[in-house]
Symmetry: C2
Subunit: 131 residues, 2 copies
Amino acid sequence: MTRPGGILLFAHGARDPLWARPFEAVADRLRQKAPATPVALAFLEFMAPDLPHAGRELAAQGCERVTIVPLFLGAGGHVRKDLPLLVDALRAAHPQVEWRLAAAVGEHADVIGAMADVAWAQAGAPTPPRR
Amino acid sequence: MTRPGGILLFAHGARDPLWARPFEAVADRLRQKAPATPVALAFLEFMAPDLPHAGRELAAQGCERVTIVPLFLGAGGHVRKDLPLLVDALRAAHPQVEWRLAAAVGEHADVIGAMADVAWAQAGAPTPPRR
């Protein structure tokens, strides 16, 4: 029997607890969409759990495959340097799991389009936007 | 004659120039949607222009109203403390312009939904998501 793949959302973290709300909302949305899919949210700093702990939890749940999705808009050093090292450590710690590292969400046209639509709506567009 | 309102996108900035690509893509998308609308992109740190310079440019273009849209997912100290002070300074420097501060894009359901959809797609969803 193939167990379901898990989704591990990865965000930066901040000192202000309110900061995490959009990321928790993404996790909640995924859990509503796919109740059978294990979904975890981890942070680089300031907030818990971190990636090693959240990854261990998904491995303990029996995930054979986990996709790590960086909830970052810009992909700088955190996404392109820190995160691959953390994923290497997960692979070493849990070799029975296939750990897949996805591109940052900000690289995706649908997320860019959603941000542009929101900006346009907030500006109180006087005429409908051209799509 | 009422001149068009402007849109001032505000992002964090980073040392890595590639980091800015998604934010530039949002600005490009808006310019394609609404060629008559002045659109500028400004950064809190590391990248240019900063908010005072970009705001001055939009004021010089004759904008009577400018909506400042924070391209942040989480709203922590940068959005809730630093940015309002920067906007106050714009209001003092350019009182002929109506400066409107929008909520961070990460607070919007459409952006959260787009991130969840992207995460789901990247996880190689075995069955279509429930909407």
